[in-house]
C-alpha cells in the first residue's frame, strides 16, 4: 500500500516537472521552434523522472551490445541497473550521478567508480543553454521505435565543430527512445535505441544489486591519483576556444605509464566532451604532431613550448586541434 502511494507520488512529481516545463514554454514566446526545444527538454527530464525497464542496443563503429535497463525514480532518488547482455559480463549500477561498473577482465571482476550523468536514455543535460547556442533543432515525421510511436527530431550543429544527432522521442511518455549520432559525412558513428520498453509499476528495489559470480575475484580499480593544483610547474593560458566549448573541470593527476603529474582539463559544449592534457616533454623544438580519429573519437597531440599538449574527445578532428592550439604556455 505504501509502495503504491510512493509510485503515485513519483508520477505526480514527474508530472509536475513536465507541467512546469510546458508552462514555461507558454509564458515565453510560444513559437514552433520553442515547442520543439520543449519536446527535447521534456525528454531530458522524462529519462530521469520516469520509472521504466527495457532492452536497448548500443552500437558504435567497433562494437554492438544489447543492454537491459531498469530505471526507477522514487520521487527523491534515481536508481538504475544496466546489464550488458553480449560478450564479457558488465553491469553498471547507478544512484544519481554516482555509478559503479562491474567489469569482467579475464578472471577478475574490476569494480570501477565513476561520476556520470549522460547514460542512455538520459543523454541530454537538464541545462539546455549551451545546446541551444550551438545547435539548431527541426522536426520530421513520426516513426515507430520499439513498438512505440515516436516523434523524430534532428539536432544539427551550427558549425563543423560538433556532430549531429537524430532523436526519436516517445509521443506518449516523452522519453527518448533512440539516438543516432552522425559525423560530417552523414555516416552513423553511434546508435543507441530501445528494442523493448515498458513503464515500471513497482518501486521495489530488489533488482538493484549486481549479479555476483562467486568463482570470480572482485577487485577495486586503482583510483586515479589527483594531486593539489600547485604540483605542476607550468603556467599556461587558454585562448580562443572553439565556439561553444567551455571548461567544466580541471585537475592535476597521475596517468598510468607516466612518471610525472599531468594537467587534465575537460571542455564541453553541453553534449560532447573533450579532455586536454598538458605535460612536460624532453622533445625539443618541433616534433611531429599526431592526429587520429577512430569511430567518433578524435585525438591530437603536439609539442608546444617544451610541453606535450594532447586533446581527445568525441568530437570532429577540427575541435581537438583547435582546443590543443588554444593553449599558450609561458615559461
Amino acid at each position: 500500500m505504501i509502495l503504491t502511494s510512493r509510485v503515485v507520488w513519483a508520477k505526480f512529481l514527474a508530472g509536475i516537472t513536465l507541467f512546469a516545463l510546458c508552462a514555461m514554454s507558454l509564458t515565453g514566446h510560444a513559437s514552433t521552434d520553442d515547442e520543439l526545444w520543449i519536446v527535447l527538454q521534456k525528454a531530458a527530464v522524462a529519462a530521469r523522472a520516469l520509472s521504466y525497464e527495457g532492452i536497448f542496443v548500443c552500437q558504435t563503429a567497433q562494437q554492438s551490445k544489447s543492454v537491459q535497463i531498469t530505471h526507477l525514480f522514487d520521487g527523491k532518488n534515481e536508481f538504475a541497473r544496466n546489464v550488458v547482455l553480449d560478450g564479457a559480463t558488465r553491469e553498471v549500477l547507478s544512484q544519481g550521478n554516482n555509478l559503479i561498473i562491474y567489469n569482467q577482465k579475464n578472471e577478475k571482476i574490476v569494480i570501477e567508480k565513476r561520476r556520470g550523468q549522460n547514460m542512455f536514455p538520459a543523454i541530454l543535460p537538464l541545462n539546455f543553454d549551451s545546446i541551444r547556442d550551438n545547435y539548431t533543432l527541426h522536426s520530421s515525421t513520426q516513426e515507430r521505435v520499439a513498438d512505440r510511436q515516436a516523434r523524430v527530431l534532428f539536432l544539427e550543429p551550427k558549425d563543423r565543430l560538433r556532430y549531429s544527432y537524430k532523436f526519436w522521442i516517445d509521443s506518449e511518455y516523452g522519453l527518448l527512445l533512440k539516438s543516432v549520432r552522425f559525423n560530417q559525412r552523414s555516416e552513423i558513428i553511434e546508435s543507441i535505441g530501445f528494442n523493448r520498453l515498458s513503464l515500471l509499476n513497482s518501486i521495489a528495489l530488489d533488482w538493484f544489486t549486481p549479479k555476483i559470480d562467486s568463482k570470480k575475484n572482485y577487485v577495486m580499480e586503482d583510483e586515479p591519483v589527483i594531486l593539489p593544483d600547485g604540483k605542476l610547474s607550468v603556467t599556461w593560458e587558454i585562448k580562443e576556444l572553439p565556439a561553444g566549448y567551455r571548461k567544466v573541470d580541471q585537475m592535476v593527476r597521475m596517468v598510468p605509464g607516466k612518471p610525472y603529474p599531468i594537467m587534465h582539463m575537460i571542455f564541453s559544449d553541453g553534449l560532447a566532451s573533450v579532455s586536454l592534457f598538458i605535460e612536460p616533454t624532453n622533445k625539443s623544438g618541433k616534433t611531429k604532431v599526431a592526429l587520429v580519429t577512430t569511430g567518433s573519437t578524435s585525438f591530437y597531440a603536439g609539442v608546444n613550448n617544451g610541453h606535450l599538449v594532447t586533446a581527445v574527445g568525441e568530437v570532429p578532428e577540427a575541435t581537438v586541434v583547435q582546443i590543443a592550439n588554444a593553449v599558450v604556455i609561458s615559461k
Binding site: C58, V84, G116, M119, E190, D249, V255, I262
Partner: protein, 163 residues
C-alpha cells in the same frame, strides 16, 4: 562434329555406333586435328603430357616476342589483335579467341568499375590505416573516459582499454 568427337572420347558414344564418325575423323583433316587436340588437352589435364624436349624453350621465346603490357589501357589493342589473328587461325580457335575476348572485355569492365569506385575506395583505405596502424594512446583515452565518459563508453569498453 566437334561435339561428337568429344562425346566419343568421353565414351558417351559406343565405339560400335561411331563407325561413321571414326571414318570421317580419318578422312577430314580438321576433324582429325580436333581429335588430336582434344587428346592433348585431356592428357594435359591429367598431367601426363608428352611435350617435346624443346617445348619450354620455344614457349619462352614466343613469350619474349609478345609485347609487354604496361598499362591497363594498353591491353585494349589486344582485342583487335585477337580479331586479326582469328582470321588466320583455324576455326576451332575461334571459341578460345572469343573466350579470351570475353575475358578482356570483362576485365576492362571491372577496370572501369573500379575506376568509378576509386574515390570511396581511397577513403576506406585511409580510414582502415588510421584505425589499424595508428590508435589513440590508451592512457589518454582511459583518463578521458574515466573523467568525462561518453554515453557508449558505459556499455562498450573502448578497444584500447582492454588489458
Amino acid at each position: 562434329m566437334s561435339e561428337q568427337i568429344s562425346a566419343l572420347m568421353d565414351d558417351e558414344i559406343a565405339v560400335e555406333n561411331a563407325e561413321f564418325l571414326i571414318t570421317s575423323i580419318h578422312v577430314n583433316k580438321q576433324a582429325s586435328q580436333t581429335w588430336n587436340h582434344y587428346h592433348l588437352i585431356g592428357d594435359a589435364m591429367r598431367g601426363d603430357v608428352a611435350l617435346p624436349s624443346d617445348f619450354k624453350q620455344k614457349l619462352m621465346q614466343k613469350i619474349e616476342q609478345e609485347p609487354t603490357v604496361l598499362a591497363p589501357s594498353a591491353s585494349q589493342p589486344s582485342v583487335n589483335r585477337t580479331e586479326m589473328l582469328k582470321d588466320k587461325l583455324p576455326a576451332r580457335w575461334s571459341i578460345a579467341a572469343s573466350f579470351a575476348a570475353v575475358m578482356v572485355v570483362g576485365w576492362m569492365a571491372l577496370q572501369q568499375q573500379s575506376q568509378t569506385d576509386s574515390p570511396s575506395a581511397v577513403i576506406e583505405v585511409a580510414e582502415v590505416s588510421t584505425t589499424t596502424n595508428e590508435s589513440i594512446p590508451a592512457e589518454y583515452l582511459t583518463a578521458h573516459q574515466s573523467s568525462a565518459p561518453s554515453t557508449s563508453s558505459y556499455y562498450i569498453q573502448s578497444v584500447n582499454y582492454s588489458e
